[in-house]
Each structure stands twice: as structure tokens, then as C-alpha cells.
């Protein structure tokens, strides 16, 4: 539907958006690469001399890939076993609050749950275990990164589920599944053969984002991950923070290596995709219905959902309890006494910080929404096909380790005199928010049935009217979901806020991370509860509003 009457500025939105993404990333990458290569190969030589390098790099690769594989498998298993059932509706209600838990808070909650002096051990001691003192067991910070991997899965599973939920209605999953069922396929087999291929095409970029994130995560790795040696990305942060400032070039070199590792992991994943596709086809053509799979798969999916959701919820409940706890010693299952001292002490800072956090998140999310919608609408009106390169540029901020590209960005902001105020911070957040918003919006937007637009156009509606009165209202649910994702991403940003804000812009997350460096569970608990509230509110509204507005439009309610 090419339209000569479309405003010329619309054509400029995609290149403008790409420039907005590419410029800071380019500056950031230059800021990464320059110090790494400043002294020839000296920085890389120092890096190579670090005895933890092979293990640290392998850990980054291993935990990232394992966490992504597990999260994706469990996501698909849950979808295959429960899509369209009442169990699924229950799981779906849990996604929003779980997704809005900041990574650091989730990790601290899990750590308190599973540590030898943690809640589970306390609940079972001493009556069942006989432990008067915590046992000397290496559960947290295990050298293989198992705790870290599980922590990542608990956080990434809800994210992938949400992305899949947005994609399912667009690929007409219900009809595909119904067709497979009438042909006698079991639920699992029917899902794998008919829905998975189309679904995965829409999930691919979120999966890559999860992979890149899992490999480069720092806050979670510091709490749950191994320490002898730590993962490569954690070591980068430690080097950057070294007091003598003497290791910054090494950190830059390591960041270059980390970037290469991420690219290699994605390439590896791509190969696995091809192999998986072949495997799936070869199984499908044999024509077996695999009905016997359904029962064990449903059991496994139920177990996975229960463990993931349960551990996150219990961990957070533990932190929330800490926020009102007095003295709470091992092996007491509950605190000796309760006190509101933590909350009373933190209250004055909170209202101000919360308002600023929300304002920044709203500004970044609105800008990201406008740009994403502009790009997608321009794409639709001018029949543009996004090139692979353009897409890669858009996702670059998710694939380049934050810690590597932000100092360069800070230099740029400083040189332009733009740092230190909330607007600059919101602009920096936009770089990270936009890909996620675009990511969650593009699928539903492109999958919208163009025949509706054609019908409207034949009735004389202008392209603008089609966009504002048909497309946008029909896409209300995905737009709200994308906004909620945007707000959650913005609220969770630590490094951009600290670096671009010059320390003067305080959000819930900068406060919470500063506090978590002190390990005070009571305050961490209070902030974790609050950090969850804002995004959870967003996700709650994203689920509630369409249900309310479309309460007399049954077919619209499924589009989320």
C-alpha cells in the first residue's frame, strides 16, 4: 500500500531511529576499542596473562548458553503443554510480577533461599537436619556456575514467555493446534510440528538478546556466580573499578573479547537452529503422533513453572520479610521480632526517587514507542523491508556488553555538555529501551491483517485514519505490553543512569545497587519491593486495560 500522500517526514523516521541507535553505539564501541588497542597489544597481553581467562571466558559462554537453552526449552514446554488451558491462564497472571523483579533483587532473593544459612535450611533445621550451625556447603558461587544459570533461567523464562504470548495470536496458533489435534497429533507433537517453526521465527531476536544478556550479566553473577575466577564480564567490572585506574585498558581489551564471544555464541546458536530445524523435519515426516509424550511433558512443564515461579516468589517473600525483620539468626525460620525501622528510615528518600524513576522511564518509553511505531508504519506504507544490517544495528545495544560501550557514551555526553540531568539519562535509557520496545512491538505490528487496511482504504479511509483508528486501537494490547517492557527496562538500568547522570540522578536502581554493595538484606528487601512495584504496575495495566476496553469484543481480548 504505497501512498504518495503520506507525509514526507515519516520516511525519515527509520533512518533517524537507526542513527539514534548507531551513533551512541559507535561512539561507545570506539571508546571501547581505542583504549584496548592504545598500547599495541599490551592490554591484550595483560588480559592473556590473567590466569582466570580460560575459565572466566568458558563460564561466560557456558552459563549464557545453558541458561538460554534451558529458558527456551522450558518456555516452549510450558506453551506446548498448556497453551489454551486454565493452567495457562494462571501461569500468565504470574508473568507480569515476575518479569518486573530486578535481576539483582531476584538474585539476592534466590541466594537467601538456597544458601546453607538460607530460608530452606532454616525451615528444616534443626528438627530435620540436626544443623545447629549452617553446614559448610558450596551451593552459592559454585565453580560451575550452576546457581548463576538457574538464577538466569528464573528471570529469563518469564521474559521469553511474555514475548511468546505476544507472538502466539499473530501466528494464529489456536487454529494450527486445532488442525494438528484433528489429525490425531498429541499436544506436544502438534505444537512442535505446526506452531514452533512460525513461533520461533518471531522469538529469534528475543532469544539472541537473552543469550547476549546471560553471557554478560554482572549484577546477578556477582551474587550467584563463581568467584574463583568470576565470569569474564564480572572481571571487566572489577578491572574498571580498580582503585589505581591501571587496569582500564585491560578491561577494554576484555570487553572486546567479551563482544567477540557473544558474536561467536550467536553464530553457534544459529548453527544449532539449522540442526534443530533438520531434526524437527526428519521427525515430523515420519508421521508419528507422539501422544504418549503429553502426560510426562505436562508434568515436567508444571514442575518447571512451579519451581521457577516458586523460587522467585519465595525468594522475594524472604527479602520482603527481611525488610521488616529485627534480629533473625540461624536456624530461626522466622525473625525474632518485627520492626518498621528500615522502612521508616528509607521513606523520605523513596517518594522523590520513585517519582524521578517513573518520569525517566515514562519519557524513554514514550520516545521509544513513537520511534518504533513510526518505523513500523513507514515500513508498512512505503513497502520497506528492513535489511539485516539495519536490524543488527537496532539490536546492537543489546548485544554489546553495557560495561564496554557506556564509558565511551559518557565521554560523548561530557564533550557535548549533556550529562548530569534527568533528560540526558532518559536519552541514554532510550538506547536500551528502544530495542526491547521495537522487539515486542514489531511482531504483532507486522502480523496485523493487512486485508483490514485494504478494506478501509477501498471505503475511502486515509492512511492516517487507518493507522490511528484501526491499526493502533487493534494493537492496543501489544502497545501496552511494549510500554510495560520499556518501563521495566528503564527502571532496571544501573550503569547508564550512574555514568550519564554523573551520580546526580538517583533512581530506585542506583540506590538499590549502592545499597546491595553493602549486603544489608533489610534495605535491599525494601528497595526490591519498591523496584518491583513500578514495572509490575505497568504490566498489570497492560493486561487489565485491553480486557476492560475490549470487554464486549471477545476476539480482541486474546491479542496480548
Amino acid at each position: 500500500m504505497t501512498d504518495a500522500a503520506a507525509p514526507g517526514w515519516l520516511r525519515l523516521v527509520p533512518p533517524l531511529t537507526l542513527a539514534l541507535m548507531a551513533l551512541p553505539v559507535a561512539a561507545g564501541l570506539a571508546g571501547t576499542a581505542l583504549p584496548a588497542f592504545r598500547d599495541g597489544a599490551a592490554a591484550f597481553a595483560t588480559l592473556a596473562a590473567w590466569p582466570g581467562l580460560p575459565r572466566g571466558a568458558l563460564l561466560s559462554l557456558g552459563t549464557g548458553i545453558a541458561a538460554t537453552l534451558l529458558s527456551l526449552t522450558l518456555t516452549l514446554l510450558i506453551l506446548a503443554a498448556f497453551a489454551g488451558t486454565p493452567t495457562f491462564a494462571r501461569i500468565r497472571r504470574l508473568i507480569a510480577p515476575l518479569l518486573s523483579v530486578p535481576h539483582a533483587a531476584a538474585a539476592l532473593g534466590l541466594a537467601f533461599l538456597i544458601a546453607p544459612s538460607g530460608w530452606i535450611a532454616r525451615a528444616l533445621s534443626p528438627w530435620a537436619t540436626g544443623w545447629q550451625a549452617p553446614p559448610d556447603l558450596l551451593i552459592l558461587n559454585d565453580p560451575w556456575g550452576v546457581s548463576l544459570t538457574l538464577g538466569l533461567v528464573a528471570k529469563e523464562l518469564p521474559f521469553l514467555l511474555l514475548m511468546a504470548l505476544a507472538a502466539l495470536p499473530q501466528i494464529d496458533a489456536d487454529r494450527r493446534l486445532a488442525t494438528a489435534a484433528t489429525l490425531g497429533y498429541g499436544r506436544i507433537a502438534g505444537f512442535a510440528f505446526t506452531t514452533l517453526p512460525a513461533l520461533y521465527a518471531q522469538l529469534r531476536l528475543p532469544v539472541y538478546a537473552v543469550l547476549a544478556y546471560g553471557m554478560t550479566v554482572v549484577d546477578m553473577a556477582m551474587i550467584l556466580g563463581p568467584t574463583l575466577p568470576p565470569t569474564l564480564s564480572t572481571q571487566i567490572v572489577l578491572w574498571m573499578g580498580e582503585a589505581s585506574l591501571g587496569q582500564r585498558d585491560t578491561a577494554a581489551a576484555a570487553a572486546v573479547l567479551q563482544f567477540a564471544l557473544v558474536l561467536a555464541a550467536i553464530a553457534l546458536w544459529r548453527l544449532a537452529e539449522v540442526a534443530g530445524r533438520r531434526l524437527l523435519i526428519s521427525i515430523a515426516v515420519r508421521g508419528h503422533r507422539h501422544c504418549a509424550l503429553d502426560r510426562p511433558a505436562a508434568g515436567a512443564a508444571r514442575l518447571a513453572a512451579a519451581i521457577t515461579g516458586g523460587s522467585l516468589i519465595l525468594g522475594l517473600a524472604g527479602l520482603a520479610l527481611w525488610s521488616v525483620a529485627g534480629l533473625w539468626q540461624f536456624p530461626d525460620a522466622l525473625p525474632e521480632n518485627l520492626s518498621l525501622r528500615t522502612w521508616a528510615g528509607a521513606a523520605p528518600v523513596l517518594s522523590e526517587t520513585m517519582a524521578l524513576t517513573l518520569a525517566i522511564a515514562a519519557a524513554a518509553t514514550l520516545a521509544a514507542l513513537a520511534l518504533s511505531l513510526g518505523c513500523l508504519e513507514a515500513e508498512a506504507r512505503f513497502n520497506l523491508t528492513p535489511t539485516h544490517r539495519a536490524l543488527t544495528l537496532l539490536y546492537l545495544p543489546l548485544l554489546v556488553p553495557q560495561v564496554a560501550f557506556l564509558p565511551g557514551l559518557q565521554g560523548l555526553a561530557l564533550a557535548a555538555g549533556l550529562d548530569g540531568d534527568a533528560l540526558a539519562v532518559a536519552a541514554a535509557h532510550l538506547i536500551f529501551v528502544l530495542p526491547y520496545v521495537f522487539l515486542s512491538l514489531a511482531g504483532p505490528f507486522r502480523a496485523w491483517d493487512r486485508r483490514i487496511a485494504i478494506s478501509a482504504a477501498t471505503l475511502g479511509a486515509s492512511p492516517a485514519a487507518i493507522f490511528w483508528r484501526l491499526r493502533l486501537p487493534m494493537l492496543l494490547a501489544p502497545v501496552l505490553t511494549a510500554s510495560a517492557v520499556g518501563i521495566a527496562v528503564s527502571v532496571g538500568q544501573y550503569l547508564p543512569t550512574l555514568l550519564i547522570g554523573g551520580g546526580r540522578v538517583e533512581t530506585l536502581t542506583t540506590e538499590a545497587v549502592a545499597l546491595s554493595s553493602g549486603g544489608n538484606r533489610r534495605l535491599i528487601g525494601a528497595y526490591a519491593v519498591l523496584q518491583m512495584v513500578l514495572p509490575a504496575l505497568g504490566f498489570g495495566l497492560a493486561l487489565l486495560i485491553p480486557g476492560q476496553i475490549w470487554r464486549n469484543r471477545r476476539d480482541m481480548r486474546g491479542v496480548a
Binding site: W50, P51, G52, R55, A115, P116, S117, A133, P134, D136, L138, N141, D142, P143, P226, T227, L228, P229, M240, G241, E242, A243, S244, L245, R248, G326, L327, Q329, F330, S339, R341, T342, G345, A346, P407, Q410, G411, L414, A415, D419, G420, L498, L499, G502, G503, R504, E506, T510, E511, V513, A514, L515, S516, S517, G518, G519, N520, R521, R522, L523
Partner: protein, 403 residues
């Protein structure tokens, strides 16, 4: 010191160069009026709510007395602020910098001073400076053997003390050898933060003091050709100790609060801190049981001072000076030493205070777990900063990759 060189030194301090007391006072009045209405951004580690509350209280006092607003920029690591100033210097921003005041010592100070990132010397301009006990507490003017030369002003004294729960452990070991024996008899109940963490490296330096043939060498920079032989006893000690540590040394807590949390959780029986009053303050805050006590090793433990410094490009230098001076006010120092507030030891010389101020210090309760100054024993000076860097590096090479 020869008289002539002493005079030369005094003359070289700008505050004394041709300035009488009167001139000093009028200079300070100028600073006060310049500072009024300024907002000072103090970059300080924000990991301890007790310290955060104390800084907020200083801010309230500053606003009331001098019309200076104090904003505490809470950092996860002091290096973030150092990196910030460095980035501004590299971007050519020589005025209007984001950092006005920074809580600093040791390596961070050495790095900033060496790179010309600091404003000063300024301490002699502070009216409260003469109250500081520079002779009895030499650490107030010597930071990791590096003379501060007026580029940072002290605000609290720190000394390494060990903490234990007297309900679980009746007789704590008081020498390094006894500590190692105790760990062998009670495996898994002792650990230290993972170097290069500050407190973890301090533990290594404390061990060095105990096992080196000539600990006086620590006051000079590392002597490369002899270094390996000098520190060999440290590695021998750790090689014996590690199998008996918490998690058999396959994991270490990451910093001081994490170590304190292990003690609170009952995962270990002996912890340590760089603040003799921490245990009492934590008991008062309900974070530790009131049976926790502290002890020091025979022969003394390492002590140092915390400082504030002002970056070369600070936007509000006058306001920062006013805050640095306020921190040295006896009323502020006595509050910091109160075990129910912070339990930090004062940097002031009580003999130089007015009788009323001295009485306020003397009226302070020590706190249930705090040792008296006499019980704290001798303070060992911080080794030269090169030792910290070097042994932390070697520790990572030796133990940084678990077997």
C-alpha cells in the same frame, strides 16, 4: 628535621605563606559567603545505611549553619567517582565538574594525586584543622605512607578489629599462629574477603606484619629483587590456612559487609572489620546478637584514616571546603564516635578541645562490644600502597583460580 628545612616546609604551604591568623580568618569569611547557597555533591560509598544517615545529618547541619546544601551521591565503589573525574579531565572539563567532595584514601588518593585530579593543598585553610591530632595519629597526614600534603582532610580513624560471637566461642585466638591452629581445629568457620577487596588485602597485610622477618620494610615501596623471598612466609601461611577456611577456600565473601553478613548468619565464627565500633553499632541496629565481642591480635593491628578530598574541577569548591571543615567540628566528631550512631574513632586531639567539648567525648559510652583505646593496642601503619597492589595481584595469580 633541621630548623631550616622545617621553616622552608611551613613557608611552602600557601596558607602560611605571608598570611597571618587574621588574614586566614578573613579568607575563610570569603569562602563562607561564597559557599552560601551552593549545593555540594559528596560522592561517598552508599552501602551502609548508618553512614548514609550520618551524612544526611551533616547535610542538615550544614544547611542550618552555613546555608550549604549537601547531596550525598551514593556510590557502589569509590573508583566510580575517580573514573568520573578522570573522564572529565580527559574531556577537557576543567571547571564545573560533577564531583565536589569525595570520600577517599589509599590507592584512590594516590591515583588522583598522581594524575593531578585534586584541588589543594587546602587543609591549612580550614579553621578546625589545628584541632586534628597530627602527631598522636600520624595516619591523619600520611595515607598509606604517602604524605597527604594538604590534598585531603581526615574525617575518621579506622583500625582492624576481629569480631566473634562469645555465645559460640569463649576464648578467641589472639595471635596469628593461634588463629591458624583454631581454624585447623574448627574447619570452615573462618574466611576473609576476596582480594583485591580492600578489607581482604588488609588481612593479607596484617598477616605480612606477623610473618615477615623485618616488617619495617613495609614502609618502603616493594623492592622487586627481594620481594619473592620477603613474602614467601605469607604464602606458606595461607597455603596451610586455606584448607581450613569457609568452603575450603573454594569461595570467598566479596567485601566487608558480606563478611559481616556471614557472621550474622552464623556461617563463620570469627570476622573482622576496619572499624572498632562496627560490632557495637550493628548490635544497636539489631543486625548482630548482643553476645558479639571484638578483639585484636597481640602486637597490634593495622590502622588508617578516612579522608575527604576535592577534585581539581569541582563546581562548588567553597561549599566543599565548608563541609570538610564542618566534618572536623567537635560536635560532628563526637556524634561519629557515638557507638549508637557510627562508632568511628575521632581524628581530633582531645587535649586541644575546649573543656566542654572534651567532656562530651569523655561522656560517650564505648558500646558493649567496643574495646577501649588501651585495649585496642598499638596501631600498625599501613604499608606503602605498592605492597597492597602487588600482594593482591599475586594472590589472584596463586588462588584466583580454584583447583
Amino acid at each position: 628535621m633541621h630548623r631550616r628545612s622545617a621553616l622552608k616546609l611551613i613557608a611552602s604551604l600557601p596558607a602560611f605563606a605571608g598570611l597571618s591568623t587574621k588574614a586566614l580568618a578573613s579568607e575563610w569569611d570569603g569562602i563562607l559567603s561564597q559557599a552560601r547557597g551552593q549545593t555540594v555533591y559528596w560522592h561517598a560509598w552508599g552501602g551502609d545505611p548508618k553512614i548514609n544517615d550520618f551524612i544526611a545529618w551533616i547535610g542538615a547541619t550544614a544547611s542550618e549553619r552555613y546555608g550549604v546544601t549537601l547531596e550525598h551521591v551514593k556510590l557502589a565503589s569509590t573508583a566510580d567517582a575517580v573514573a568520573r573525574v578522570l573522564a572529565e579531565q580527559q574531556a577537557g572539563q576543567t571547571t564545573g565538574g560533577a564531583v565536589d567532595l569525595i570520600w577517599i584514601n589509599g590507592e584512590n588518593f594516590a591515583a588522583m594525586k598522581a594524575q593531578g585530579l585534586l584541588f589543594g593543598p587546602f587543609t591549612e585553610t580550614l579553621p578546625n584543622w589545628p584541632l586534628v591530632d597530627t602527631t598522636g595519629k600520624p595516619a591523619t597526614v600520611t595515607d598509606f605512607t604517602l604524605p597527604t600534603e594538604g590534598f585531603e582532610s581526615p574525617w575518621a580513624m579506622a583500625q582492624l578489629v576481629f569480631e566473634y560471637d562469645s555465645a559460640r566461642l569463649s576464648q578467641p585466638p589472639q595471635t596469628l599462629a593461634a588463629l591458624a591452629d583454631w581454624a585447623a581445629a574448627n574447619p570452615g568457620r573462618l574466611t576473609y574477603p576476596q582480594p583485591p577487596d580492600y578489607l581482604g588485602t588488609t588481612f593479607l597485610k596484617q598477616v605480612l606484619y606477623g610473618v615477615m622477618d623485618d616488617p619495617a620494610l613495609l614502609q618502603s615501596p616493594v623492592d622487586e629483587p627481594r620481594y619473592d623471598a620477603q613474602v614467601a612466609p605469607l604464602w606458606a601461611f595461607l597455603d596451610r590456612l586455606h584448607p581450613n577456611l569457609w568452603r575450603a577456600a573454594q569461595a570467598f565473601p566479596q567485601n566487608e559487609p558480606a563478611l559481616g553478613q556471614l557472621l550474622a548468619d552464623g556461617e563463620i565464627d570469627i570476622a573482622f572489620a576496619f572499624n572498632p565500633g562496627r560490632a557495637s553499632a550493628e548490635i544497636a541496629a539489631g543486625n548482630l546478637p548482643d553476645s558479639v565481642r571484638t578483639f585484636v591480635l597481640e602486637g597490634g593491628t593495622i590502622g588508617n584514616a578516612s579522608f575527604v578530598a576535592i577534585p581539581f574541577n569541582a563546581a562548588h569548591q567553597a561549599g566543599a571546603l565548608v563541609i570538610a571543615n564542618l566534618i572536623l567540628d567537635p560536635e560532628v566528631q563526637v556524634r561519629a564516635q557515638d557507638p549508637a550512631i557510627l562508632g568511628f574513632q575521632t581524628v581530633l586531639d582531645l587535649a586541644r578541645l575546649s573543656p566542654e567539648d572534651r567532656a562530651r567525648f569523655e561522656a560517650l559510652e564505648l558500646g558493649v562490644a567496643t574495646l577501649s583505646p588501651a585495649e585496642l593496642g598499638p596501631v600498625l601503619l599501613e604499608p606503602h600502597a605498592s605492597w597492597m597492589t602487588r600482594i593482591a595481584q599475586d594472590w589472584t595469580a596463586r588462588y584466583g583460580v580454584a583447583q
